[in-house]
């Protein structure tokens, strides 16, 4: 085949209306979502310098016509040499894991109850779940400061009833962080679980009951296995963002609460060490890439 002959058809097939429609959102996401990661990757190999912007260039244009590449793994080596970073990653994993499990238990009982509620209540109950999901994260975390702090509402209430004599020290501890995470992410867990439980075929449970299965056993052997897709979606929606959470550990956690999102923020805004912040981000992304892909696959399955 001759190139000059195929070219017009080739271009025609690329620049048709259908591809143009695909291209608009595609190019936007490539430029503003994917391309930025290449810059993070690049800057994670640079050196911190006192300049604007505060990182060295990877390509050095010397005397020859080809630039020489000056990349260093120093930032990554630094992350592994200072135990702070490893501890922060491990502590984020632990906090994200435990709070996902706790959110699942609380979220499941709420989603299950909403799904089993009489029809006329369900709409309003669902809206009550969605409402906090839309309300500002920052405001909802802030609301807990007034409750949990030493002279806060919780301590005042407990002391006036006489349950405790000295105020509980909850604010600025890991416990406050767990409360904040469960509170903030609960709607993200309830919504996919509810969507799944609502569709469940009740006749399966009736069949189990007819065959002599106790309700509790039916719940474990029928309801739970059927709701696995909802459980997976909810857990991903909680676990992945919590791994990089900044606002909650910053406002509710103490100095000993280590989370990698807060470390990244400190490196960037306070230490102005952009290359180390980039290396922290790349490593976090490497931890999260498998869960993110599993989440994407579960969502695609749900549509088709």
């Amino acid at each position: 085949m001759n190139l000059t002959q195929t070219n017009p058809n080739f271009f025609k097939s690329i620049f048709n209306g259908r591809n143009a429609v695909i291209a608009i959102p595609y190019i936007w996401l490539l430029l503003l979502f994917l391309l930025p990661f290449i810059y993070v990757l690049k800057i994670s190999f640079a050196e911190t310098i006192y300049a604007r912007p505060p990182y060295s260039s990877l390509l050095i244009w010397g005397d020859s016509w080809l630039p020489s590449i000056k990349a260093s793994f120093d930032n990554y080596l630094f992350l592994f040499s200072d135990s702070l970073y490893i501890k922060a990653y491990l502590s984020s994993l632990k906090i994200a894991f435990i709070s996902t499990i706790l959110t699942l238990i609380i979220g499941y009982s709420i989603a299950y109850s909403v799904a089993r509620a009489p029809n006329r209540w369900r709409g309003i109950l669902l809206m009550l779940v969605i409402l906090p999901f839309w309300t500002s994260f920052l405001i909802r975390v802030y609301a807990w400061i007034g409750i949990l702090k030493t002279e806060g509402l919780l301590n005042l209430a407990l002391m006036s009833i006489g349950i405790i004599e000295k105020p509980l020290m909850i604010m600025n501890t890991d416990l406050a962080v767990y409360i904040g995470i469960i509170y903030s992410y609960l709607p993200f867990m309830i919504l996919p679980l509810y969507a799944n439980l609502e569709k469940m075929d009740m006749s399966l449970l009736e069949a189990a009951a007819d065959l002599g299965c106790r309700p509790f056993k039916a719940f474990w052997t029928v309801t739970i296995p059927l709701s696995i897709p909802g459980i997976m979606a909810g857990c991903f929606l909680v676990f992945i963002p919590v791994m990089g959470e900044f606002v909650i550990p910053d406002l509710l956690g103490g100095s000993e609460t280590l989370m990698i999102g807060k470390v990244l923020w400190t490196e960037f805004f306070y230490n102005r060490d952009w290359p180390v912040a980039s290396a922290v981000a790349i490593l976090l992304l490497a931890i999260l890439v498998v869960p993110i892909m599993l989440y994407q696959r579960s969502q695609e399955k749900a549509i088709s």
């Binding site: 959102p25 810059y39 912007p53 609960l186 009736e206 900044f246 695609e300």
Partner: protein, 267 residues
């Protein structure tokens, strides 16, 4: 068979108390006469009056409204197209990457999105300001719109589009005259969702904004770091009120849409 028992009622009461008591307390103490947020000193709206005097908060609110309005409108256009592409364009080349770029921003930690977007703006020497915050907000909001539109499209009757195309209507006119009116409720709730997402965002805005483009959440955050004050409660109450209004509107639209679907299925 017993479907809705005491356990269900108990977990609903405990669950919703947990979700709502903190917000109700926050609203309650915004009307507190006393500066102490934990001691009730009588009803007063003076913190709202004080808020109106605070130029910093008013400026930040104005920036936030501008960003939220522009970004949600752009995100709705791009997200609607993306939702159609996901459901009606079959298996095109690079589809997996496309759906990855739609779903990943919804779970990706905000610090990563914020840092990476900022580093690109710096490398391309784009000045940080309202413009860059708006670009960043469009990008993550459009993914939410795409998912909302996509879930509406899954119950969309393809024969309507086919009929229009068979009768010689151009694809663009078919979209404007047939598809868009049918999916409009989803598009509107996508817009409302984008608007509140932009209104609420602290982390991504902190990375991508520059001097003079402080958003309301950034302003609130800097106030919160200095301590709990009734003024923060007052501004939070206003924000909660705006969002509640939006959600109730969206859910009413959604209910009407559901009734419409039921009606078309019956006829």
């Amino acid at each position: 068979m017993k479907r809705f028992g005491t356990f269900n009622i108990f977990s609903l009461i405990v669950g919703f108390s947990f979700l709502y008591i903190p917000i109700i307390l926050l609203i309650l103490f915004s009307f507190n006469e006393s500066r102490l947020v934990t001691v009730w000193g009588g009803f007063s709206t003076k913190w709202y009056a004080e808020l109106m005097q605070n130029q910093g908060i008013k400026d930040a609110a104005w920036v936030t409204i501008k960003v939220a309005f522009v970004s949600s409108t752009m995100a709705t256009i791009l997200g609607t197209i993306a939702g159609l592409v996901m459901t009606r364009f079959g298996n095109f080349k690079g589809r997996t990457l496309f759906s990855g770029m739609i779903y990943a921003p919804m779970v990706m930690p905000e610090v990563i999105i914020g840092l990476s977007t900022l580093l690109m703006f710096v490398a391309l020497a784009i000045d940080r300001g309202i413009f860059t915050v708006t670009l960043a907000h469009i990008t993550f909001s459009m993914c939410y719109v795409a998912v909302v539109v996509q879930s509406r499209m899954s119950s969309y009757d393809d024969s309507l589009t086919e009929a229009a195309l068979d009768l010689g209507c151009t694809p663009f006119r078919t979209f404007m005259l047939i598809t868009l009116p049918i999916i409009l409720p989803a598009v509107v709730s996508g817009w409302l969702l984008s608007f509140t997402l932009s209104l609420d965002d602290l982390v991504i805005a902190s990375f991508t904004s520059g001097p003079g483009s402080t958003t309301l959440p950034m302003k609130i955050y800097s106030m919160v770091r200095l301590g709990v004050t009734p003024e923060i409660n007052a501004v939070s109450t206003i924000l909660v009120g705006v969002v509640t209004l939006g959600v109730v509107t969206a859910s009413l639209i959604g209910r009407r849409q559901k009734q419409q679907i039921l009606k078309t299925q019956h006829t």
